[in-house]
């Protein structure tokens, strides 16, 4: 592409100077709605990578490739969904978005795709292509921005398109530049709530509701039917809203939404970079890592969506998604090349998510297990507890000496490490759970001994003694903490913010509803999607800064 064209493309991405500080003003122009009350803060969330991809597929079709690196997500309170409310776009990140946008636009205007995706051209009564550009911007803008493009926005875009077309001597080049501008606009890259033109202060408009709903249930932008309902104001009417929610839950895309939630909740994306020592775990590979992540998600959606199951059963299920790449890790035969469900028999050590290779490997070191990392993960993720980070001057020599002739098992080495009282205080919270998983090595493979010593898997969970993983799984299944944790996490995921004391009544209601409905995850999602609070702007003191959330510390106990 010529330098002139590059400058025009960048120029077409109007209003981007302000991207470093995200505000509620829509830089593509914004519809100019009235401001909300002084205490209502609209939510602004950057699209995650998967949401970006889903948006491109929704607007232009799945055959359009999205190639490039995205700005990394930031976790706040363990969730990237909450972190999305706290992040902006760096200059380097914008360059990436720009490159991705150009590649997408090139594909849209490629000869094979253009007739379907652009649909018009200059000629006849539209010699310069102004009507064509207006139609394109209006149609594509509605889908990309998830709201109608205001007339003045369309006019400005048409003017830029025609100017660029004249400069470049090519209408398509001008319109392509406009598309790049739209794809790099904050209106696309951020989910920006807009206040309702009418109604109580703090209410959001129908299109913002549609976005919240679709990203919660589908992890994707609204489809035509949902945008249509939003435009007609139907989402303000409980019976119509319920109809839309039921339609969306019945859609195959609901699985994508559930997957996105658990991918974030269990922090499975970290598995993309998971690697193991090839000499110690020769059976573990990047293929196995990717399959392990997929296994967790497929196991979850099989139980919670396909079988409309009880969330707590995830901890006791013996029905695992399985594919051939994982067979050697689980030591089971797997036929066929695709995915299918494998049922472990009663008495088998594999029971529930805690014993899936992906989570076990993720919370281990490259060449050995880590009861501490495993326990910390369970405490923080599944039980929503906080575990403090270790001090910087801890001596891990005993724990790391895996070939210690006297201390043959990890439990023995950890117990020696805990002679230090300062260490013991934190390890008590984590290691009890983690040690019960010691029958699974750092790659998630079963073992009954370590250096020929039988592995002790007993422990305590909330003062209840247990012997072995199946007993722990049952305790976790029955623990109110476990079900309450997924409720609060789902609410934080949906609202894109951390919860406080003011959320307590809301969470109490959700917990009661979740329990009364038999802990069906689908019902939890439906309840949230129908809850008026889900569509309310956050009410904050006027003095509160726009972005105050603090990113999670990356430091973790290394023992």
């Amino acid at each position: 592409m010529s330098r002139t064209a590059s400058r025009l493309l960048l120029a077409a991405a109007a209003g981007l100077a302000g991207l470093g500080i995200v505000s509620s003003s829509a830089s593509f122009g914004g519809p100019g709605a009235s401001a909300a009350g002084p205490t209502a803060q609209p939510s602004v969330r950057r699209l995650t990578e998967s949401q970006y991809r889903a948006a491109i597929a929704e607007v232009f079709g799945p055959e359009i490739e999205v190639v490039g690196r995205f700005e990394p997500d930031m976790r706040v309170g363990g969730l990237a969904a909450v972190g999305a409310s706290a992040v902006s776009i760096t200059p380097a990140g914008f360059e990436q978005y720009d490159a991705i946008a150009r590649h997408v636009a090139e594909q849209v205007f490629a000869p094979a795709a253009r007739p379907r995706l652009v649909g018009c051209a200059p000629g006849g009564e539209d010699p310069a292509g102004a009507h064509c550009a207006a139609a394109f911007v209006g149609r594509v803008g509605l889908k990309l921005f998830r709201r109608p493009v205001a007339l003045r926005e369309v006019q400005a875009a048409v003017a830029r398109t025609l100017a660029a077309a004249q400069r470049l001597g090519n209408f398509d080049a001008g319109l392509q530049a406009t598309l790049v501008g739209m794809l790099t606009s904050p209106d696309f890259l951020f989910r920006i709530d807009l206040p309702a033109p009418r109604g109580p202060a703090g209410a959001i408009d129908g299109y913002s509701k549609a976005s919240r709903l679709s990203f919660l249930l589908w992890n994707a932008p609204p489809d035509d039917a949902l945008l249509d309902a939003a435009g007609k104001g139907l989402l303000d009417r409980p019976e119509d809203l319920r109809g839309q929610v039921d339609r969306m839950i019945a859609s195959p895309k609901f699985v994508d939404g559930v997957r996105a939630f658990f991918d974030d909740f269990l922090q499975l994306r970290d598995m993309e970079t998971l690697s193991k020592d090839g000499l110690i775990y020769p059976g573990f590979s990047t293929t196995v890592a990717a399959a392990s992540r997929e296994q967790v998600l497929r196991t979850i959606t099989d139980l919670l969506v396909d079988h409309k199951g009880d969330y707590r059963d995830l901890f006791t299920t013996r029905r695992f998604a399985m594919t051939r790449a994982l067979g050697p890790i689980y030591n089971v035969p797997v036929s066929g090349s695709g995915w299918s469900m494998y049922e472990f028999p009663e008495g088998d050590p594999r029971i529930g998510l805690l014993t899936q290779a992906g989570l076990l490997a993720l919370h281990s070191h490259p060449g050995r297990t880590s009861p501490t990392l495993r326990g910390k993960s369970l405490r923080e993720t599944v039980l929503c507890e906080q575990v403090p980070s270790p001090p910087a001057n801890v001596n891990f020599a005993v724990v790391q000496d895996v070939n210690n002739a006297t201390l043959k098992t990890t439990r023995q080495r950890l117990e020696a490490h805990l002679d230090d009282e300062e260490c013991a205080s934190c390890h008590k919270a984590t290691d009890g759970l983690g040690l019960s998983l010691e029958q699974f090595d750092g790659a998630g493979q079963y073992r009954s001994t370590e250096h020929d010593e039988p592995i002790d898997t007993s422990g305590k969970f909330d003062k209840a003694a247990f012997a072995g993983v199946p007993a722990l799984a049952r305790l976790m299944h029955d623990s109110p903490k476990v079900s309450q944790c997924v409720v609060s996490t789902a609410w934080r995921y949906a609202s894109g913010r951390d919860t406080g004391l003011a959320d307590r009544p809301q969470l109490d209601r959700l917990n009661a509803s979740f329990a009364a409905g038999g802990y069906r995850f689908i019902d939890l999602m439906r309840t949230i999607a129908l809850d008026p609070q889900f569509y309310a702007m956050l009410r904050v003191p006027l003095t509160r800064p726009a972005t105050t959330a603090r990113a999670d510390s990356k430091s973790q106990d290394r023992s």
Binding site: G278, L279, P282, G283, F284, S285, M322, R324, G327, P328, Y330, N331, V332, P333, V334, S335, G336, S340, M341, Y342, E343, F344, P345, E346, G347, D348, P349, R350, Y446, S448
Partner: protein
């Protein structure tokens, strides 16, 4: 012997994923109860044990041809850098021909053959079409065979070994008194070896025939066998079922099977344990034998065995008659041992033909000498009509790691019995 519910397990849903309750007895190991399956990572001709068994190395084609040249020409063509020129001259001298049936890279550049109108590209020609192609392209009358996975038409010492007897010059058989192997016929005669452990009457005439080739000796090295995987495209599987006691069980069933999936390797390039394999759909490749385990060593009764050797350009079904599998269950979970029996000459000749002249030249073999030696040392399954032996005693050594077979349960009814025709 574990009878369990194998018969009840042969219905629909046998496919391993309906595994509820099937492997609890062996938990946490998956698979069928009382069954251990292994994938063979390499099959090598075994034998030898006498360091003085080969007074000299058997020469390959290049060696024989060079020896036939005047001294000055021999000196000129001997350096390794002259290999291509040497081969070209040798092929011209013997009139070897090699033509690609259609454009493509079939192990090196080759002239593309002219085809009669009724021959379609990329479709294996019929015998009549083959003769027509050979005639059209100037092959010697009646000569020319398909080679290189049926992609080329060739005339060489590997396709027609009896046409080039001079390439057998200098051949050296293994002349040691000791060799690994097994006493297959219960007799101890002059042609037999003693095993390194002192067992008399060891039958391993295949090693006598080819044991002095450099390639045979290299591949017989345990260190080589540890590193190199053979027949990785369609590995052989050994399944032992009905095991009550893995150390001693007088009654087990052994199946030797052929996988339809390539050998799965781990991150270090070694065979990956516990991988799953589906089976070749050819029922004649399901071989069953009765066996026993004594002190951790599995031994079968003799049975007729067909297995596939598919490696690089070779795609060959090998047939071993009166085969005995003898192998040790190792503490690390692997299985090491051998298949001992009479390899049919026809299946071995087929492998030699698949090797192609290029292959034989490059690994230092003489197809002619090998063919003559097999004819000479064959010692099993005499054809009553011709009075000639049709098979040669042999040892196929293997290493195997734990694996799973999917799709067919152990001891399932077979599609073919042991009475099937043998090549």
């Amino acid at each position: 012997m574990l009878k369990k519910s194998a018969a009840a397990l042969t219905g629909a849903g046998l496919v391993c994923l309906a595994a509820v309750g099937l492997h609890a007895a062996d938990a946490p190991t998956g698979g069928w109860p009382g069954t251990r399956t292994f994938v063979v990572s390499g099959l090598f001709v075994g034998g030898g044990g006498d360091p003085n068994g080969c007074p000299a190395q058997s020469p390959g084609n290049f060696d024989v041809y060079l020896a036939s040249l005047p001294a000055d020409q021999r000196a000129e063509l001997s350096p390794p850098g002259k290999r291509r020129e040497l081969q070209k001259q040798m092929w011209q001298h013997f009139g070897f021909r090699r033509m690609a049936l259609w454009p493509g890279d079939f192990g090196g550049r080759a002239e593309v053959a002219k085809l009669p109108p009724d021959v379609k590209l990329h479709q294996k020609p019929s015998p009549a079409q083959l003769r027509a192609i050979a005639e059209l392209n100037g092959f010697p009358k009646g000569k020319g065979s398909l080679a290189y996975q049926d992609q080329t038409l060739a005339y060489s010492s590997c396709t027609n070994p009896y046409d080039f007897p001079e390439l057998a010059k200098g051949y050296v058989p293994y002349q040691g008194k000791i060799s690994t192997g097994m006493n297959l016929d219960g007799k101890a005669g002059a042609s037999n070896f003693s095993s390194p452990d002192g067992e008399k009457g060891v039958d391993n005439q295949l090693w006598r025939a080819i044991g002095c080739y450099k390639q045979s000796q290299e591949m017989n090295d345990p260190a080589f066998q540890e590193k190199v995987m053979l027949s990785a495209r369609s590995p052989t599987l050994v399944e032992v079922s009905g095991i009550d006691d893995p150390r001693n069980d007088p009654d087990v069933t052994v199946r030797v099977l052929t996988g339809a999936d390539p050998l799965v390797r781990d991150g270090a390039g070694k065979p990956l344990a516990r991988a799953s394999y589906s089976l070749d759909s050819d029922p004649s490749l399901v071989n069953v034998a009765h066996g026993r385990i004594v002190d951790g060593v599995l031994t079968t009764d003799p049975f007729d065995l067909r297995f596939v050797f598919r490696e690089q350009i070779i795609d060959n079904v090998r047939v071993v008659r009166g085969a005995v599998v003898r192998a040790r269950f190792k503490p690390d979970g692997n299985l090491d041992g051998g298949i001992y029996g009479y390899t049919t000459l026809s299946s071995y000749y087929d492998m030699v033909e698949h090797m192609t002249q290029d292959g034989a030249d490059n690994v230092g073999l003489s197809c002619v000498a090998v063919r003559q030696a097999l004819d000479r040392y064959a010692d099993g399954y005499r054809d009553r009509a011709t009075g000639k032996y049709t098979a040669i005693s042999s040892e196929w050594r293997f290493h195997a790691v734990p694996a799973f077979v999917t799709g067919i349960p152990p001891q399932a009814p077979l599609g073919a019995g042991t009475a099937r025709a043998m090549r």
